[in-house]
């Protein structure tokens, strides 16, 4: 398998896996579990892991990514600005939800929606970065072949 084919396969796998992370409702719940609470906690964990991965990757590969994916730095800056507050808000409302009695549970949807929107944005930028990386490698391989493998 060529480096390009390997990259394409890897990138496709990666994008599918990351997009799956937005569907944090696939595992069957144990009996007696509150699905609203479990899904909210899943979303918090998934969003935090995805955001943390994204800001670390962007910082570690800033120069390369600025070249490959214009706009990704601004997107990462937005995550750095909004992400912690969104996670903390969701965490607080989850704590309130757990402490409240049945029938007096607060609505989690607003805090969840903010975190989910950031998560979707991050997933979109990761997919763009993977796609741009594959295209760049293909360009380089084509140029290399035109030059006769010199």
């Amino acid at each position: 398998m060529t480096a390009e084919a390997q990259m394409k396969k890897t990138a496709r796998t990666l994008v599918v896996l990351l997009l799956c992370s937005s569907l944090a409702a696939c595992a069957a719940l144990k009996a007696g579990e509150d699905p609203v609470l479990v899904r909210a906690e899943q979303t918090e964990q998934t969003a935090f892991a995805t955001m943390d991965t994204f800001v670390n990757l962007e910082r570690d590969n800033e120069a390369l990514l600025r070249t490959l994916v214009p706009g990704i730095h601004a997107a990462a800056e937005a995550v750095r600005l909004k992400g912690p507050a969104a996670i903390r808000d969701l965490r607080d409302v989850i704590a309130t939800y757990k402490a409240a009695k049945a029938g007096a549970k607060p609505d989690l949807s607003t805090a969840l929606a903010v975190v989910e929107q950031i998560l979707r944005d991050v997933q979109s930028w990761i997919a763009k970065a993977a796609d741009a990386g594959v295209k760049k490698v293909a360009e380089i391989e084509t140029a290399y072949e035109i030059m006769g493998g010199v």
């Binding site: 990259m7 719940l29 935090f48 892991a49 910082r59 490959l68 750095r80």
Partner: protein, 67 residues
């Protein structure tokens, strides 16, 4: 060649991060108090690392002490 290596390293890092995301993905019950405390601590530790610092924070304070 440098770009190819950079892209490969980038994708390698992304794949390495996947187990963290998968762990949340397959959660089937509410967090225990200890798991909640661990998650909160992990989040707060991460938010003060260099990767989470904005350009404005870096410009204002280029070399903060390690958390």
């Amino acid at each position: 060649m440098q770009i190819v290596l950079g892209v490969l390293a980038l994708i390698e890092q992304l794949i390495a991060a996947y187990p963290r995301i998968k762990a949340a993905f397959v959660q089937d019950s509410a967090l225990t108090d200890q798991q909640r405390a661990d998650l909160t601590a992990a989040e707060e530790r991460a938010f003060v690392t260099p990767a989470w610092r904005t350009d404005a924070q870096r410009a204002a304070d280029p070399a903060p002490p390690a958390p």
